[in-house]
């Protein structure tokens, strides 16, 4: 009874229906992080720096994952997926050619166009490097658009380093100031810096806070301390860009899971100027 003949004009579409992408490359980066290159089946993803997609496996579920490749017109895109649960563990087990569901891209982007002519200071912790990398690669490919580029990367211990080939490339580049640290280096032959990421910041003598924008991406615990150090260096809140992590379900501003006061992180974020959210008490 009551079968619907509604003329709901777009009933044929759904914001919850995933598209398909297939694995074209795959490489384990740490014992829990795996690099993937995917190829969309039908169209280029068309993402911008710092955006995310909802990826899924039928029967398991969906989760938001940051895109780590620079924007491109190809159907290919890259991600690093950390194995933290059932969905990510199933994806880790997939082989080249196998498919996942993809919705998106969603979210705001690193303001790379607005930042032209400025110096960039990337401060990345752990898999915070994944979304930041999409901006880093863009700024390195368009090196003349930006003044000084400084990249800080920190992780728990040497075994947690990701994109190691690129890290050493950045280290070698004369036009990039790259600094790296690990929280602890016990039981390893690590020769580099040891200490949390903020211990690198006193080394940034040449960074001019007036003409530099800091892009900060890392685990929730990192933001407070990094932002305090940036303030000490003279950075104002409108020269700090952050990318926030929240629980997300829908990715499209409906389900409420990612909401902080009036902000839906999935739509209004994940990338924010710190000046826009500093008064949001639950933001960091």
């Amino acid at each position: 009874m009551g079968n619907c003949q509604c003329q709901s004009n777009t009933k044929g579409s759904s914001i919850y229906l995933p598209e398909i992408a297939r694995i074209t490359r795959k490489k384990l980066m740490t014992d829990v992080d795996c690099f993937f290159e995917f190829e969309m089946e039908k169209r280029p993803l068309g993402h911008k720096y710092g955006q995310f997609v909802e990826i899924s496996i039928p029967g398991i579920g969906e989760a938001p994952i940051s895109i780590s490749s620079a924007p491109s017109s190809s159907k290919k895109f890259e991600m690093v997926i950390r194995n933290v649960g059932e969905l990510t563990s199933v994806i880790h087990g997939l082989n080249i050619g196998e498919a996942i569901g993809v919705r998106g891209p969603y979210g705001t982007t690193f303001p790379m166009d607005d930042l032209k002519g400025k110096s960039l200071l990337y401060i990345t912790g752990g898999i915070g490097l994944v979304p930041a990398r999409s901006a880093i690669l863009h700024s390195l490919a368009n090196r003349n658009d930006y003044k000084d580029i400084t990249i800080l990367f920190g992780c728990k211990d040497p075994s947690q380093r990701i994109f190691v080939d690129e890290l050493s490339e950045w280290e070698k580049r004369p036009d990039v100031n790259f600094l790296e640290t690990v929280d602890t280096a016990a039981n390893s032959n690590w020769k580099g810096n040891v200490g949390v990421i903020t211990t690198l910041m006193p080394k940034l003598q040449n960074v001019n806070p007036d003409n530099t924008v800091a892009i900060v991406v890392g685990p929730p615990i990192m933001y407070k301390f990094v932002i305090m150090s940036l303030h000490d260096m003279g950075f104002t809140d409108d020269h700090i860009v952050v990318s926030l992590e929240r629980r997300m379900k829908c990715g499209v501003g409906k389900c409420g899971h990612c909401q902080i006061n009036h902000i839906y992180v999935c739509q209004d974020g994940p990338v924010f100027y710190f000046s826009d959210i500093k008064d949001l008490k639950e933001a960091i």
Binding site: M1, G2, N3, C4, Q5, C6, Q7, S8, T10, K11, S13, S14, I15, Y16, L17, P18, I20, S56, I57, P58, G59, I60, G61, E62, R82, V84, V90, A99, I100, G101, P219, P220, E245, R246, R247, M248, K249, C250, V252, G253, K254, C255, G256, H257, Q259, I260, N261, H262, Q267, K281, E282
Partner: protein, 342 residues
């Protein structure tokens, strides 16, 4: 707006015709124990046009407690197929505050990325509003809603004149079409008389702030001890959000048949008062404290939605106040407690 009259028995006879025709599900308010619920009518005689409040708001017809969004063969991403089940539906006897709530839901689901699962159900619905004839001790809707706003979504509005007579306001084409073949007569009632009939019952309490003042008032109270004081009594049961006509947050889960042959991605009602609502990767919970969750819910009604839509996010139905075992959930309670504490 055209105004018509119809006797109650003729109206019920018309509803019966619709039930028999069977091309649109007729849903109305029916008694359940000492309470009322929206339920499908098998015959018009079940319909109750004299009730205080329903246990659940009518949102369940547009955003069901459980709703399949996508189906698939497990593990096979190429099998994803959308699901959008809707059916022709007439809701009879919706009070003005619930109509305003539907208007808010319409905006949330249609603006930005359009949610067709919700919108298709709305497109297939006819809404017949009804001015309340019974008071409800927890209601304060007169202070929360703009009296014109129900007309943004209603197709017809019923005004009970006495035990046997109804006035009918024909708001939309859909409403007019619904009445085709009904024994209606032109109305000779004056606007003054109708205005009085619309406002037969008065609320016993009023919320002191409208959408212009409320956001600033509450933002200033962000650190007020009231959140912890009331929040510490909360059981995190979620009743206040499930019964709320303007709460639409949801969870999405995958469910696979025992045979593993097919599965569904399903959305369920969820709510910010439930402890796990804001946990993200690494088990970091952004609203661990009950007080913080309580504040978040009240702020959605008094700050977030008013700032976004210039309409209060609470329509004053009073359901949360009735549903809450801890007796803390009602926005009136928050205001009163704040005043007592000052």
């Amino acid at each position: 707006m055209e105004i018509l009259k119809i006797s109650l028995s003729d109206f019920l006879a018309h509803v019966n015709k619709k039930i028999q025709a069977g091309d649109s599900k007729q849903v109305g308010v029916v008694p359940k124990g000492s309470h009322f619920v929206f339920g499908e009518l098998d015959e018009a005689a079940q319909l109750c046009l004299d009730y205080d409040v329903t246990i659940l708001p009518p949102k369940k017809y547009f955003q069901p407690q459980r709703e399949v969004l996508v189906k698939y063969a497990p593990k096979d991403a190429s099998s994803y197929a959308m699901v959008n089940d809707c059916e022709n539906l007439t809701l009879i006897g919706v009070h003005p505050y619930d109509l305003v709530a539907i208007h808010l839901m319409d905006r949330a689901f249609s603006e930005g990325e359009r949610d067709e699962n919700y919108m298709a159900k709305r497109d297939c619905s006819v809404l017949i509003g009804l001015y309340p004839t019974r008071g409800f001790e927890h209601r304060f809707s007169a202070s929360m809603i703009d009296p014109q706003m129900p007309y943004k979504v209603a197709d017809l509005m019923l005004i009970k004149l006495d035990d046997n007579q109804l006035a009918l306001e024909v708001v939309s084409k859909k409403g007019k079409a619904y009445l085709e073949g009904a024994a209606v007569a032109k109305s000779d009632l004056s606007e003054a008389f109708l205005a009085q009939a619309r406002n037969k019952v008065k609320d016993s309490q009023a919320f002191p702030l409208g959408p212009d003042k409320s956001p600033a008032y509450f933002k200033e109270k962000y650190e007020h001890p009231v959140w912890e004081k009331l929040g510490e009594k909360c059981y995190s049961c979620g009743s206040c959000v499930f019964v709320c006509p303007t709460c639409y947050c949801f969870d999405v889960r995958d469910e696979v048949e025992l045979s593993l042959a097919s599965g569904e991605r399903v959305r369920y009602w969820d709510g910010c008062m439930i402890e796990s609502f804001a946990i993200c990767a690494g088990d970091h919970n952004f609203r661990k404290e009950r007080g913080a969750r309580f504040r978040h819910r009240v702020f959605r009604k008094t700050v977030t939605l008013p700032e976004k839509y210039q309409v209060m996010g609470c329509v004053g139905c009073g359901r949360c106040a009735q549903a809450c075992t801890a007796d803390i959930a009602g926005p009136m309670k928050v205001i009163k407690t704040m005043k007592e504490m000052n």
